[in-house]
Subunit: 353 residues, 3 copies
């Protein structure tokens, strides 16, 4: 239960922030254990190559961008964007097998998504809506962290906000009352939805730095965690009795968090995140304060989760104890396990469909 | 023969110096591969917890001391000193399995002892007498080293003082004559006793810095090594012909060394030591000189033993060659192996009895 | 194909530069996974010991040079140059097994060669001729690099000079025309010979810093790679139409490169090299410029090969794609594999003969 060494393949993983891949600069990044290299064709179209020349395994990210594509700078094979080799020094004949594997890749709202499974099933409609990342009605700051932990330990964390009162006691957290709330958990098509309302509570410390509140607030977190590890979170605080639970979102401080956990290897992970807000859009200090608050909180998570990983590493036989607060993460883990098992039974089927 | 991956469980291990565990500070330390966390209840009673929350494996040493006990700062479970969970956020029912494992722990003469096996057999009368550590008639300075070596390689070293003339040639060692002495070796209830007398020899270099000697000395080392790895050493030098071998300890420089090797993992160890002396009690410089001499010597051992471990790591098939000087260490290793085998056959029996 | 964990044993490996082993200083170096310790007897004769005392595995390179040999500074065993133990503290009887393994070792032209297999087959006539290393008619500077890569990846590199135009584009390399040449490859008694001529081409950048050329040059590389991994390379450039291909070596810049790859472990290697030249012998600046050019180029190789090793480590199942340019290296790898298989079938036979 503590770790799953296999990964879901037929799904979209967040691989990068768009601006990590320049017009002429490559990005080398491993995803689910596969070394990848991202680059742009003329005109800007993104390409995701296996970062390993088919010839002798040299990394293509040490290669050279030429008008026609990428040249491996070990022995000079030249590959076009399709992955096909179009030149081999010292021989005319180019065998069919002379190609580098490519992966479907899509750029959406500043995130680069890559499909690690069967390209035939790479249905772009499966990509979650993250327009909050670049919608002019919202503001936020892109973030990235590298984790020395299995991605499911991070997903666990996102799926149980009862940790807010403890890990983030002095930052994002707030009252222990919040930790006591039993969230409403529902199963969605490809994940889990968690809804949690706390009515009539003191504003969290960082909220007070952003806005003046007449008194207590109603707080909510409504979020979806979608396989493989994308969190879409609608959260906010509204003045108590202003009708937020009934749908009135006036005078509230509203956030939309987009977070993505992408396994690098079985024991390391990428973590992409942006917490957007739809108020005080013209006050950069609010955005900056929010960025700092988020970073402080996420660093607390990282410290705890990496420590947890180290402890778990000492005894792979350790069995976790299921509690009521684990309902959402337990359901998510079952879903992931089932999806991996289904893929292994029928690798060519679109398990994500 | 070079390493034993299993450990004796039904025995007392030295885990810490008392003052490493403050009234409110925790000590996290792994022993025989188990992460432990030491803390004090109100009133000072020591508690040894498994440093791993039963819920999801987070380290409790990242937790918070509360009046009632330790709260895991990941999801808020609260554990009292007995290990029982007494609060789970967001649920009333506390399952029987919601407890953290505790270990019998005893504080004696500045050392903290922990029992890693069946608590029913944790007989405190098995703890060796180390009153020299805090007896007002003796002085010495606590020491600790972390070793990158299996604990048995360190025990080997303690059980064969013929290395003094080589490893410690310029510090503790002295003459090669000393290395030639064949010690008297006897089996004790839970270990090995080694007695070695060198009559009419030059005082060791560091002895000359402590006291003026009329001429040659009689030197002795009489020590017990008790499982799992505790050394209790009576040693000293007396003016030649003063009757030291017959029991007269007047005009001698007498030491009592307490040393404990505690496995951290199969390849790393903790080493606790104090060399006490019963002369010049009011001259702190003597104690300080002794501390420096011991540290210099122990660093020489560490350099050699860690190098030995690295060489042995290169070929696990390497077979050591038994020599006469290995009698004591060979007997001790056989005793340890037999004790482990006995425990594995009958885990609940008190092998230490 | 990417790595062979076994090694050839019945062959001469380059272990060191002669001056790495002083009259009284030891050299500790591991070769094909075996820790070795090199030292000199009185009179300068070299000895290669297993760097592991037969008693308890302590490294003898932490020992002491005494008139009679090497004393282990853990417990004092004394070994003479033959490996025989001649003194054991505290016992008279010296068992037959009390000896340290020795290896045939030969010093030739500044290189120290060691035979890792059956000493009965250590035929010195198998040592390749590297007199260019210390012949007064040639000059060059000794070099050494430590590689985090399997030695065969480095041998691959030496056996396929098509990489010159890419890896060394701005240093040793020169034109892509050179990479297009199909070399003549022949099998030799214990390796592979590669001949490559490029007629009427621009001089390589570094050549221009050494000498003024009337125009284009004829370039050649004629080299032998001999098992386990010794490269002997005759190369140079001559004015075009001066008859170099027919054997006239006047007015040319001629080099002789001696390079040796010696496995340290399955994943790390030693690399010894000297590029000698037979012109401008009295201008140290030329030698220095050549040294810098070689170092710059070899660092480029190292960066590429270590990156290749890291990529290969991520997927041991990766299959390399054979191209025409791999003929020489493919043949060499087959030869190495066959030699290892032969040795494993008949360990005592002289596979090198």
């Amino acid at each position: 239960m503590t770790g799953i060494s296999a990964f879901i393949k037929n799904c979209w993983y967040v691989a990068a922030w768009s601006d990590e891949i320049g017009a002429s600069a490559f990005l080398a990044r491993s995803i689910i254990g596969m070394p990848l290299m991202f680059w742009r064709e003329d005109g800007g179209r993104l390409v995701a190559f296996e970062d390993r020349c088919c010839h002798r395994g040299a990394p293509l990210s040490l290669g050279r961008r030429e008008p026609a594509g990428i040249r491996c700078m070990y022995h000079g094979m030249l590959f076009e964007g399709s992955g096909k080799c179009i030149e081999i020094p010292s021989q005319e004949f180019i065998p069919e097998a002379a190609r580098v594997r490519t992966f479907p890749v899509v750029e959406r709202h500043k995130w680069v998504w890559v499909w690690m499974g069967d390209p035939a099933h790479a249905d772009q409609s499966l990509i979650p809506d993250t327009h909050y990342l670049d919608d002019p009605g919202w503001r936020g700051t892109p973030g990235y962290m590298h984790y020395r932990a299995n991605y499911l330990l991070i997903a666990d964390n996102l799926l149980d906000f009862s940790h807010l009162a403890y890990v983030h006691e002095k930052t994002l957290g707030g009252s222990s009352k919040y930790a006591q709330i039993r969230p409403k958990i529902t199963r969605t098509a490809r994940g889990i939805r968690v809804e949690r309302w706390l009515l009539d509570d003191e504003p969290a410390p960082f909220l007070k730095t952003i806005k003046t509140w007449p008194g207590n607030v109603d707080r909510w977190n409504i979020y979806d965690v979608v396989m493989p590890g994308v969190l879409l979170m609608d959260s906010g605080s509204a003045p108590v009795n202003s009708g937020a639970p009934q749908g009135n979102r006036q005078d509230c401080a509203e956030f939309f968090g987009c977070q993505a956990i992408t396994p690098e290897t079985a024991t390391t992970s990428h973590y992409f995140f942006q917490q957007s807000h739809n108020f005080a859009l013209h006050d950069p200090q609010v955005t900056e304060n929010l960025r700092l608050a988020v970073l402080a909180g996420f660093q607390e998570d990282k410290d705890m989760i990496e420590a947890q990983q180290r402890v778990l590493d000492m005894d792979p036989q350790f069995r976790m104890l299921g509690l009521r607060m684990d309902t959402a993460l337990g359901n998510f883990r079952l879903l992931v396990e089932k999806t991996i098992a289904d893929e292994q039974r029928a690798p060519s089927a679109a398990s994500a469909a």
